[in-house]
Symmetry: D2
Subunit: 357 residues, 4 copies
Amino acid sequence: MAGSSFGELFRFTTWGESHGPAIGVVVDGVPSRLPLAEPEIQHWLDRRKPGQSKFTTQRQEPDRVEILSGVFEGVTTGTPISLLIRNEDQRSKDYGEIKDLYRPGHADFTYDAKYGLRDYRGGGRSSARETASRVAAGAIARKVLGPEIKITGYLVQIGSDSIDREQMNLSLIERNSFWCPDPAAAERWEQQLLTIRKSGSSVGAVIEVVAEGVPAGWGAPIYGKLDQDLAAAMMSINAVKGVEIGAGFEAATLSGEQNADEMRMGNQGVSFLSNHAGGILGGISTGQPVVARFAVKPTSSILSPRQTVDRSGRDTDILTKGRHDPCVGIRAVPVGEAMMACVLADHFLRHRGQVGG
Amino acid sequence: MAGSSFGELFRFTTWGESHGPAIGVVVDGVPSRLPLAEPEIQHWLDRRKPGQSKFTTQRQEPDRVEILSGVFEGVTTGTPISLLIRNEDQRSKDYGEIKDLYRPGHADFTYDAKYGLRDYRGGGRSSARETASRVAAGAIARKVLGPEIKITGYLVQIGSDSIDREQMNLSLIERNSFWCPDPAAAERWEQQLLTIRKSGSSVGAVIEVVAEGVPAGWGAPIYGKLDQDLAAAMMSINAVKGVEIGAGFEAATLSGEQNADEMRMGNQGVSFLSNHAGGILGGISTGQPVVARFAVKPTSSILSPRQTVDRSGRDTDILTKGRHDPCVGIRAVPVGEAMMACVLADHFLRHRGQVGG
Amino acid sequence: MAGSSFGELFRFTTWGESHGPAIGVVVDGVPSRLPLAEPEIQHWLDRRKPGQSKFTTQRQEPDRVEILSGVFEGVTTGTPISLLIRNEDQRSKDYGEIKDLYRPGHADFTYDAKYGLRDYRGGGRSSARETASRVAAGAIARKVLGPEIKITGYLVQIGSDSIDREQMNLSLIERNSFWCPDPAAAERWEQQLLTIRKSGSSVGAVIEVVAEGVPAGWGAPIYGKLDQDLAAAMMSINAVKGVEIGAGFEAATLSGEQNADEMRMGNQGVSFLSNHAGGILGGISTGQPVVARFAVKPTSSILSPRQTVDRSGRDTDILTKGRHDPCVGIRAVPVGEAMMACVLADHFLRHRGQVGG
Amino acid sequence: MAGSSFGELFRFTTWGESHGPAIGVVVDGVPSRLPLAEPEIQHWLDRRKPGQSKFTTQRQEPDRVEILSGVFEGVTTGTPISLLIRNEDQRSKDYGEIKDLYRPGHADFTYDAKYGLRDYRGGGRSSARETASRVAAGAIARKVLGPEIKITGYLVQIGSDSIDREQMNLSLIERNSFWCPDPAAAERWEQQLLTIRKSGSSVGAVIEVVAEGVPAGWGAPIYGKLDQDLAAAMMSINAVKGVEIGAGFEAATLSGEQNADEMRMGNQGVSFLSNHAGGILGGISTGQPVVARFAVKPTSSILSPRQTVDRSGRDTDILTKGRHDPCVGIRAVPVGEAMMACVLADHFLRHRGQVGG
């Protein structure tokens, strides 16, 4: 079906371009009688908002969300919730000079190849600005899931520099510019990013998102797998090039003995002795934390000239000016959390539909 | 929607358990007037078939496919194509003793948690036997795509041992037991697998699938992305724990300069100087080869006893007897190819629907 | 999406042609642990089976259903249930002579216009034989709904002759050849049909299907309406040309005072004083009986020659020989019941998904 | 899936309540490079707008549409088109007194039964105001279809008074208050409606919508039928209780000889001698005009007191004050046209996807 919607029972549809009048999202299928107000959504948008740190784009966007439908007297009504965010700091003039060039690593060439035109202002529909809509949808998904399910995202790698998992402390992730749970890594990254920013270059990153409190039984066999939908969710985020669940690619290097998560009875039922599975077996949650990871490529907007072609088929060079992120992976953290929340909310409702409870 | 279907316009629905009377797939949305006969599907099934090599399960299955509908006088009619494969070598007795135990790394526990029961015979619905249905659907997808699009899968890693990309020769992949394009790696893997099989252990693998000939423009923005659907497709295969497109996780380690695929005009239009993007930008194909990779965990069925619990909540140990693969990644190659074909066929039709041509 | 599936959470996919080896249906999304065996499905198929009465086709089809998946140890597993019905009495030779002619009122011309070919044997995919798959799916839907919901279909009109609603007695519908609740009408219809059959002509009919026991609250606003899905369900049945809910087209002739179903508190909660709404308001069930009606056109296969054209564009005449129904509306009764059951089962699960309970 | 979307490839999602800040629609899957500007959409909205005639609600709504996305430099981009219509004349105070009463014939009771609450202001989500979003989506659908396809809706019956088909002249439908193609009927209806309005009562109507220029071959077998989707489309409109295609319910009264549309070769290919089929056979268009009809019940808001209950379960009476339509069927004409356009646009794209061209 048309490609701007995600999810089955908890389903959102996003729209809007970077430099149009507004962007927005319609969230459908939300259960009724959940308390919901704009500040609760705004809270999550503010975490994603650009201009907060020296390592993210300096574009100033208040990103003020308005609820236009689906909430009455402070609670959800069960009908679609329409959210709107005005675009305020558009500066179209910055983009005019690249309207006939294809920026390497961007979607300029492919949109043109498909549609015969593109909205060249700030990437148009392909802009990372669309991810604000995901974060807003994710805020509603968290309400659907309730407080028992806790979703936490953080950076585990910038460039080739990974955190030390022995030093991981999730309580620290809001204390640095990187959602980094390892304070030593955060310091190293600060130096690395300063250098990269100064040189007009960029670097990639790896984000991990963990959901605790997911009960056993969510997901479904074969093409309704929880991990399949998480893979789709994360891969649909701009600039993502890889997705892992649990041990991920490292699982290829393990023996069957190492990889099997053994079980013992605990006080609360079955207890696993490890979590290589990332909380999912056969596409269905095990009750352990659900663990997803995704890799974000380096920002394609860099200050060094790159070889490219223009719309009329001439070879040329391009150099991206303007305000950009040296590492878009940083701002991907709240987006990854939001997508985890949306997938889980959808599977919660789908599970309840088929199985009850 | 219900979870046993994959794709939108080219859509297949699989059914069947490992030890039921049969498995099958209904492929819907296929264009009419494509020549199709059982041997063409059988050809691809035979590549996946167990019992062919010393490194795959010795379960003997002729896996003979029957076309039950949708083909008339040798060509497709545009109506659903139903394919059936009888289960012939079932040996239910092998599985009776594990019916009340949860095998670590298997879906036993989660199916029970969700549904309150499970078909314990050979994994039931969660068995890798379901992948035969995917291969059959993929055979039809290849007909939809036509001969201009060439899809090739191969192993690039077993355990920690990767191929040497300098030595890659795709013409060699059918000459060894591993679909391995590097003959030196194939020899090493042979030794490694002999050892692993003897010890009753298992190991994981990484598979790469490349599609050449995909024109620029397939896919769609945001939630209709080609890479998103490839991620879902590959992650839905049994035992897969990670998916990458193009540079994948390595993209996190690159600089913007390294990662950007520069462009120059060539004889055939725009030509890219590298393919870190894996043939997809902004969710839309670039015209370069589409490159996906996925990691398969080690087979969970191993001869060493593992700690587990039983259905009544008692701690116990389990040891899997019977016929199993030391590396299920080998048989995942034709499955990965099939899923690539199905995703591309779907996006071909979706593209033609929106854009024409 | 591809067009051979119906429903969202309770979803079935049918396949097969009139004169291929078999037809079948895959029913997905069924809750687990429902007792299910072949005789329970066969019971409903036998009600639809041709050859039982002098007023339906004399084609002999045992229509023996086989369960191929999704049921283990007598109960549903939650995974897709594949049902297969072999075609046994095919007599392809009957149809050879019309393979190049377009029968008026049939889908011959349109299939050819769309697909460039058609399976001309007995109508191929467009044959009413496909409705056996619906009846089989409906049998499973009834299990999902449970015994509290009672679905009853019957004829209320043949040609221009309607039943007298004052004489309606649903306990009589199995006592005549027409599922007719008015014994006087059944006698008149018997005479009418004998005449029509003798003349080689045919006639249309109107079927009513009532579901009792549906709780208030099923369905959803706007494009998830219960009546919308019933309209789609009934209109998708072969030969159906109109669908009504409750007062239906007669509602156009009523005043607002007449049409409004007034309410009073009863012992069991809100009680309606009439049911012009047919049990649905705003797309959501009221708790009253859900009432749908649909009109079936006269069989297009008749003995009088009709003007037509052939595939090469020549004017000609056609006369349909062979075994056919003077009134296909009769056999549409179990099909309408099945579609009601499938729509309700789907909405039951969708309601439970969003709202719980 | 969540219930606020309609269509597969041409897919729209509506949101908004009668008395919220705005209503809107997101139209996805639109081909690129179609010229589109707000006045073209406004043109169709103005036809539906209330307050234009003495026989429709006097609520004043400019219904000014804003395009928020998906259009760039005057043409569609292929990405979702978001349309917004502010609610300006809300007068919430009119509705406060009925917030605890269930109006007979309205969705008050059922929304409450499902969701445990309702937005009682003007019907909230169940208000006919939502149909403005359909008309806006239909305006875009007409652009997708192009000028070769002409869609015309008109009233054929008010109450029990039908037009005389011998006197039908479609060029007259914009010259009276009723979209009536029979001038004598228009005069009679004028008198009838004056009486009904004076008495505070209401009456139902039947609308016919015809699409000329649809080529043979659109639609698909079994559950992708063009008539099935038209039935769903029309039945999803507020207050609709019945849908017919072609001869509709009258087909039940015809003989096979009468009903069969005979064929002869004409200058432009196959020519049908009649159109009982309403332009659809086997779910696929024949190339003849596509003819759908639907019945609208009388407005439930009337001045006579009706028996009802309140939210706390007490018997009471209700009398609807405020501004309402004596015959909502009149304003349903542009809505029916819009839904016809949307279904056809969707099937055009789906056909092109599977079959090409």
